[in-house]
């Protein structure tokens, strides 16, 4: 009898859960929530139904001995599976995206360490050795009168700089230092933490931009008083970036001259 009434209660609450879920989905669709949020709302409606089913569930029978141990093991497996599945269903950040970025940031810093210098020397010695071996093979196969063509290999370091494209390097620094997390640019990023910078090149000189990056307290953006007072812009770049990286970033920023975007006026502070 109790089982029958519980079964009825389950049916009733599950039906209510589905109805509420469908109503939420329809409401969400009508108010322009994307599909993934509609799914989330439906899941929450079903979770609510499950909770209310559990509230009126009949008392569980006592388990003893092997049955109790078995139930515990199954329970742990279920929980483990649930948590792993839950974490796996959510969108995953691809580490490969970050690895390239880390390589670009850390490579020049590693090169400055003793280990880095040693690694570079070893790599260079290996490269020379390989080239010497290739040359002697060529000599041996072609004879002494043969002309050997030595191809100059460009150094991998500073390839971008060699092309003189400082602005491109500056844009790369913009990405690597994640300036986009606070500043909107080209209509992307930002979230109002810092001013939109599309027209900053018309408002600040190269020296002023450099001063702002090295000492964030030196300039304030109009309308960003609270953020300025709280010291929102990190004062770490003087320690983290090499001078040529800062130069490149400054060159990139000074090239931003889109007057159609209202970049807040910079105010000199100290």
């Amino acid at each position: 009898m109790a089982n029958q009434s519980f079964a009825k209660s389950v049916m009733k609450k599950a039906t209510i859960g589905v109805i509420v879920g469908v109503l939420l989905v329809v409401g969400a669709k009508f108010t322009h929530f994307p599909y993934v949020f509609q799914v989330m709302f439906f899941i929450y409606a079903m979770l609510g139904a499950l909770v209310f089913i559990l509230l009126d569930a009949p008392a569980m029978k006592r388990l003893e001995g092997v049955k109790a141990v078995g139930a515990l093991v199954v329970f742990y497996l279920l929980l483990s599976g649930l948590y792993i599945a839950g974490a796996s269903i959510l969108p995953q950040f691809d580490p490969e995206d970050e690895k390239g970025k880390i390589e670009k940031i850390l490579k020049p810093r590693r090169a400055q360490t003793e280990q880095g210098k040693a690694d570079e020397l070893i790599a260079r010695a290996k490269e020379l050795d390989e080239r010497a071996q290739a040359l002697s093979k060529q000599l041996a196969s072609l004879g002494a009168e043969a002309q050997v063509e030595v191809v100059e290999q460009p150094s991998s370091a500073g390839a971008g700089a060699a092309t003189g494209d400082v602005i491109a390097l500056g844009k790369e620094q913009w990405e690597l230092q994640e300036c986009y997390n606070c500043h909107k640019l080209f209509g992307q990023g930002g979230k109002k933490r810092g001013p939109e910078l599309d027209n900053i090149g018309n408002l600040m000189t190269v020296d002023q931009l450099r001063e702002k990056i090295l000492n964030p307290k030196s300039w304030k953006a109009e309308g960003f008083d609270k953020d300025y007072d709280k010291g929102k812009m990190p004062d770490k770049y003087k320690d983290l970036m090499f001078p040529k990286e800062i130069d490149a970033l400054v060159a990139f920023l000074s090239s931003l001259k889109d007057a159609s975007v209202k970049t807040p006026k910079p105010i000199k502070m100290n």
Binding site: F33, A59, E98, Y180, C182, R193, P234, D239
Partner: protein, 571 residues
């Protein structure tokens, strides 16, 4: 004899000299490559295990000494037995803490020798003197506290409780001391004017490095977390013992113990979101770029998972109150002002709006908050309105509805993307609903969860004053709820520990010592979840074994017979 002694000493010195000379000619061994998992994951797993055991041995004594004091004050031997059983398990797990701590050092030195040496040199006094001395002191006090339990009874009980308090003081100081280097890795001291961070750290004193931005928030977060942990593990112990009990007396005792463990766990849990918020606030204050990294970038989905876990933990702890209420005879007569139910229903909307307009600590926000908390009590006393009441069960059902709603708000992200860089309209909130993803809405959701849990405990308190508790007759499902709570709390600790470590990005010490190893990237949430689950299971297995060995093997006889239904008020 003297000659023999002298010869032995000379022999020993020669041996040592020989070993030193031999080692002097041997080139440095290369760093270890941790099999299968890699070095970073290897360190992560061992460190996480150590932290879990450490959290237990620091949290459980707080729980135990409070219980012992309650037993002494109320002359109730049940509390004394509870305290002693928890300490029994603590003593066993104490050795596991030391073992995993030693293992952690070895693994760290083997896998990251350069960085480990660097860190040890900067905190040499801490690692070589203060921490070991505190650990030894804590060991002596813990064992004295445990082994003097039976001899320090009656008139000596006060002194025994004082010993327990001393144990907790030393434990807390130990935690604070070791949190220094840990928090330093997240937020190394800010450089003095005119110096670079590297230059400043080279000359900074130990205190400058210890008292960094996140040190005190981390101390508070871990302290409260440890009490929560201790409470839930006491609940776990009770659940195991309840399931294995053969008599009604045993069942009634462990039913009661589970209730107390859950109450302390939940009580501390109520503070935990705010302590976590404080820690996150200080991290962001140190470097504002940490905030978007956590909330909108690589770690954003870790916080989604955290939202889900917190929601489940609140659901489960309130479900346990529900099951506890159901076994109280006369609970049907307990009622509460209907205005409380109304406040709970409206709270997320009102507080979300208020905190948006007046972010705390602005006084207007505190006024509204205070009014919401006090108003139902005032309105409930006004003639004509005081008859507007709802039953305890209705109120709790409204509470459950709002737990689901509050958790949905907590879990609503700005976009379902692993980084905002990939955000498109198809996965982002519509602009009109953007507020749902901001802090005022999240704070309102957290406050609602806390508020209605407190309301549920007030109802429970009223019920036990008016009704009759039948200890031991609780729904058997409640034991699985206790086990669920402990498992989920441990899992969440693992998740949040992962987040704290990952906020250092590709640095061993944020912005100061880069991690040049190939594993310096942010692992995926799914990958992390596998390891967190693995660590939780290993920890659970050891704790379960310790409980069975210490308590089940030598089950003491029950004290008193609380199984018989006794009106709580009469008692």
């Amino acid at each position: 004899m003297k000659t023999l002694n002298r010869s032995l000493w000379i022999f020993l010195v020669l041996c040592l000299g020989g070993v030193a000379a031999a080692f002097g000619q041997v080139p440095d061994a290369p760093p270890v490559d941790f099999p299968y998992a890699g070095n970073r994951t290897g360190v992560w797993v061992v460190a996480q295990l150590h932290i879990l055991f450490a959290a237990f041995i620091l949290g459980a004594p707080i729980f135990a000494v409070v219980a012992e004091w309650l037993g002494y004050k109320n002359n109730d031997p049940k509390y004394d037995r509870l305290a002693k059983e928890v300490i029994k398990v603590t003593v066993i797990l104490y050795s596991m803490t030391a073992l995993t701590g030693g293992l952690f050092i070895f693994v760290l030195l083997g896998t990251y020798p350069d960085f480990s040496t660097w860190l040890i040199k900067h905190f040499f006094l801490v690692f070589a003197v203060i921490y070991p001395l505190l650990f030894i002191l804590e060991t002596i006090i813990l064992y004295t506290y445990f082994y003097s339990w039976d001899s320090m009874k009656g008139a000596k009980k006060g002194r025994h409780i004082a010993l327990g308090i001393l144990l907790n003081i030393v434990g807390t100081v130990t935690l604070f001391v070791i949190d220094g280097p840990t928090s330093f890795m997240n937020t190394p001291a800010k450089a003095a004017e005119g110096l670079s961070l590297v230059e400043f750290i080279q000359t900074a004193g130990l205190w400058d490095k210890m008292a960094n931005y996140s040190w005190m928030p981390l101390n508070l977060h871990r302290l409260v977390g440890n009490v929560t942990f201790g409470g839930f593990i006491a609940g776990l112990i009770a659940a195991y013992m309840f399931m294995g009990s053969k008599t009604d007396e045993e069942r009634s005792y462990y039913d009661w113990m589970g209730f107390v463990g859950n109450m302390i766990g939940v009580g501390a849990l109520l503070l935990l979101p705010f302590m976590g918020y404080l820690l996150a606030y200080e991290l962001c204050d140190y470097d504002a770029s940490i905030c978007p990294y956590m909330m909108a970038d690589q770690l954003s989905m870790f916080f989604e998972m955290q939202g889900a876990m917190i929601g489940l933990i609140f659901l489960a702890s309130n479900y346990y109150i529900w099951l506890s209420l159901k076994r109280i005879q006369g609970v049907d007569q307990v009622r509460i002002s209907g205005f409380v139910a109304l406040v709970v229903l409206l709270m997320p909307a009102i507080m979300g709006y208020t905190w948006k307009m007046f972010p705390p600590p602005e006084w207007q926000s505190l006024i509204v908050l205070g009014a919401l908390v006090v108003l139902p009590a005032i309105l409930g006393k006004i003639p004509g309105l005081k008859n507007f009441t709802v039953s305890a069960f209705t109120m709790i059902k409204v509470g459950f509805l709002m737990i689901v709603v509050a958790d949905a708000i907590w879990m609503t992200p700005h976009g379902f993307v692993p980084t905002q860089g990939l955000a498109t309209e198809e996965v982002e909130l519509p602009s009109w609903a953007g507020e749902l993803a901001l802090m005022p809405a999240k704070n309102a959701a957290a406050f609602t969860l806390v508020f209605l849990t407190v309301v549920n405990y007030i109802l429970y308190n009223r019920a036990i004053k008016r009704g009759t508790i039948i200890w031991g007759k609780i729904d058997f499902a409640s034991q699985f709820v206790l086990i669920f709570l402990a498992f989920s709390a441990i899992w969440t600790m693992g998740l949040m520990g992962t987040v704290r470590s990952l906020t250092r990005k590709y640095y061993h010490v944020y912005n100061l010592v880069p991690d040049f190893s190939p594993e310096a990237f942010t692992p995926t949430l799914a990958y992390s979840a596998w390891w967190i689950t693995g660590v939780t299971i290993v920890f659970y297995a050891v704790v379960s074994f310790a409980i069975l060995v210490t308590l089940k093997a030598g089950s003491p006889k029950p004290v008193g017979s609380p199984a018989s239904p006794i009106p709580a008020e009469a008692k």
